[in-house]
Symmetry: C2
Subunit: 347 residues, 2 copies
């Protein structure tokens, strides 16, 4: 094991399709990191298939992933966020209703305890009941991490918008660390359906590298007069542009990607984000996030990039707020406990 | 065989998933009708699987379906429309570019001939090259049939809008019988993807009967302030409304249906149909058409219903225009050759 001995917290970003475990030290530094494909859906499916109780299967998976850390640092607190806290997870952590202050989740933590006596505290998701109901689970912790620089800000908190691309992208409004509202777009899932299972996939060929020209073409169509009709009215163009030779088969997927993200941004801009002219804080370090950055910039937004370890940072701050860990200043001259990865990067 | 002996034409509405064959008599009356599940996709797939040339497989299928009629009425002309004329069909009937007069398709017919010497004339589809390219194949003939009453109108032709619901719904603008433009919405295909393969399907239960309350709720959401963000921003509500108890699992599919058709109409109304205040001629006799009727009426449109046999009627008029059949007036007192089913019904 390559970690030092100042480990303070195990933090689990345990979503539907994967589990990322962080061993964290003073001031929220990441000492070690483990990635597992054993997302909550895999775990609950395995439990069903083997007739094992779900709780037992989650405990076993947790022990498999974090066993060495638990042995090396007995009594270390453990915090988790994501679908591990859903009704198909380890234990259901009831949603908090927005507006909700992310920096004070204490009463909402849901505790499970393994047969070995290790306590795991699960951070609750959020529910919005204004207009169409909406829920997030896991992303709220990423938002807290992304906002880490603002947590200790002494200025009056300003409204900010955070976007978290993914299978379901999440748009979150915050004032300081208080989430005032959010909305979900099924853009990533529709991309997969359209490029893998629809008639649009019939004329498509997979490409190794992103074709930004095709992506931008999709963005342009979504912003055009024809695009004002929305996705249902433009999607067929991914077929007809190939038929007429204006798009190569290898460009279809990136064109659809640009079209969908363009429609998402146009739709959000016309409804949920209407009237907002501030910056957008973009969470994520994947190629998908780069697509959103490109699309946001094309629509005139100033984009800030959040830490790629926002979930870990958010869990650290949640653990701090819940009294599971204490702030320590290894360097007496430090005036902030932010790690370098917490600072948002201007793009 | 129950037909009389005045058969004048065999008309094939041969689409991707089915083939409908009509034996037509004087004045375009339907004497007999055969339905087959041997759509063009099935035929070409069978050809591939068996190593039979595609042309031969289409010929064999045609003979299987229409053999008795061909034997009883030697030399009867045969006309066809739909995907049988695509590049995966019997023979490719090149698209005509709009604006195109549906009542004068003559030069565009593509002839194939069976080994027995039977000629089959395939009606070309249409291509629109203004803005995003778009194509239709088969629907143009339904439009001609739906407009049959207008074919002989002596008044100055007015602009009309025809909608043809389906896996891909088609919206067609015509002046008289001249198609001036059209657009395709992938609404039906997205409905299938969302209700069968997406995360929305996980909380859904199949219902035996349409739940019009749920359908109308979907329409309402698409028309609401939240709906102005488009489908990507509202689709997730089909999940969250179930989670919060506002929608029953058995209502999800009809809610999604209403949401999608509502978004289609809102999108079309904001783009392709912007400024149009006339009536909409609705083609189709399925439950899907009833959904469109309901949605159009909810948006304030006056809706006319086209003949349920619009394709057959359209092929009759195409055959007339091409000189394949002649008009006959069985009743000297008749002043129109419309059959009763050609008359559009007010709803």
């Amino acid at each position: 094991m390559t970690t030092n001995t100042r480990a303070r917290l195990i933090a689990l970003d345990w979503g539907t399709t994967r589990c990322r475990a962080y061993l964290m030290g003073d001031e929220g530094s990441v000492l070690a990191e483990l990635h597992s494909a054993l997302g909550s859906m895999v775990v609950s499916t395995r439990a069903d298939a083997s007739g094992t109780p779900v709780v037992q299967m989650f405990e076993q998976t947790f022990t498999d992933v974090c066993g060495e850390w638990l042995a090396e640092f007995p009594g270390i607190p453990v915090i988790a966020c994501g679908m591990v806290g859903s009704n198909h997870g380890w234990a259901e952590a009831a949603y908090r209703t927005v507006p909700a202050d992310l920096s004070a989740p204490g009463p909402g933590l849901t505790r499970v305890r393994t047969s070995e006596g290790v306590a795991v505290d699960i951070i609750p998701g959020l529910i919005s009941k204004v207009g169409l109901p909406d829920v997030i689970r896991g992303e709220e912790t990423q938002v807290l991490g992304a906002l880490a620089a603002a947590v200790r800000a002494t200025d009056a908190p300003e409204e900010q918008v955070v976007v978290l691309p993914g299978t379901h992208s999440k748009w979150v409004r915050v004032v300081g660390t208080i989430v005032t509202g959010f909305t979900t777009c099924m853009t990533g899932e529709l991309y997969a359906l359209l490029t893998e299972d629809s008639t649009l996939s019939l004329l498509a060929a997979r490409a190794d590298q992103p074709d930004w020209e095709a992506f931008d073409k999709g963005l342009d169509v979504a912003s055009s007069a024809a695009g004002s009709g929305g996705l249902l009215c433009t999607a067929f163009s991914a077929r007809t542009l190939v038929m007429t030779g204006a798009l190569a088969p290898g460009q279809v997927e990136d064109y659809v990607s640009g079209l969908l993200i363009g429609h998402e941004l146009a739709g959000i801009g016309a409804s949920w984000l209407a009237g907002y002219s501030g910056e957008v804080l973009l969470c994520g370090s994947t190629q998908l996030a780069e697509r959103y950055r490109r699309a946001l910039v094309a629509r005139g937004f100033k984009v800030n990039l959040a830490s790629p370890e926002a979930a870990a940072v958010g869990m650290w701050h949640s653990a701090l707020a819940a009294g599971m860990v204490q702030e320590r200043h290894a360097d007496a001259g430090a005036t902030t406990s932010m790690t370098s990865t917490e600072r948002s990067q201007q793009c």
